[in-house]
Symmetry: C2
Subunit: 146 residues, 2 copies
DNA sequence: AATACAATTGAGAATCTTTCTCATTTGAGT
DNA sequence: ACTCAAATGAGAAAGATTCTCAATTGTATT
């Protein structure tokens, strides 16, 4: 419990890659590791910098490609921060949504999804078959309010 | 009712600009008009094209600047589409959220905000002072399901 | 352990998006 | 009409993302 890095296990990740006939490369593992070790959403440039610390020489394009792959596998999520920029984080277990601290960018996940309850009603009311939703909350965390 | 363009009235808009000591320019009015006339969220390039049809010679930078101004005034909202690109639409009256059709990009607003009910509870649970939220639904509209 | 092959990578070019600069124009108050 | 600050157009600049292609590297097979 003291170390949440590779919570899914390195072998777990390896299997996920192999199941999709993707190679398990050190670059992909490093990108994931960097995100797992971070408490906050990270921008591309932060990720690139941290990955290069683990694996010098890693190119920016590879970071983009690895993130796309990880997103495709459902291991990582891409979020839109308020300033319009993109950032990335490990995908939460189950269906959850993030609360992003507007001061420190730290992220807290919350499990209760209020959409579940109203989706069906909404589908009836609007005639739209709801497929998906995107929800993020913004606020000030305990540390930053103090 | 047959024409919802300038629902706020041209004079209303003029007053909003003047109250903030901003100039009421044809470029800004055109950008807003283009969005009011559209049923869907529009990308920068669509907006630019449509604005140029109304006001030839309008520069792209001006469209960006006008949108920023309109967002700042609360007249327009910027949204994140699933492909990661930004688009823009007139801001809905009151507190509403959009349902975006994944096929045709058309937008339907819905008024019921499920966050109101749970925000307070969430603040207590997490210790985070919730300030804001971003919610979008995606689905297939009646026309596109058929 | 060595081999072969397709997938992946690094590097930089290319593209796309957004912002900036600055000379010129224009809205709005006088 | 006159003045002045604000806004614009054009293109440069900056930043973000994707593409290209030769070289490298996982993985399955021997």
């Amino acid at each position: 419990m003291k170390d949440k890095v590779f919570a899914k296990g390195q072998d777990g990740i390896r299997d996920i890659f192999h199941a999709r006939k993707l190679k398990c490369t050190p670059q992909r593992l490093s990108v994931f590791k960097v995100l797992e070790e971070s408490e906050t959403y990270l921008s591309i440039n932060s990720i690139h910098a941290k990955v290069k610390a683990l694996l010098p020489g890693t190119g920016l394009a590879t970071v983009y490609r690895s993130l796309d792959t990880l997103i495709d596998l459902g291991l990582v999520v891409k979020v839109h921060l308020e300033d319009g920029c993109h950032s990335y984080a490990v995908a939460p277990e189950g269906h959850r949504h993030p609360i992003v601290c507007t001061e420190c960018n730290r992220v807290i996940e919350f499990a209760e999804c209020p959409l579940d309850k109203i989706s069906e009603k909404l589908s009836k009311d609007t005639g739209i078959e709801i497929q998906n939703h995107f929800l993020q909350l913004f606020g000030k965390c305990r540390g930053c309010s103090a």
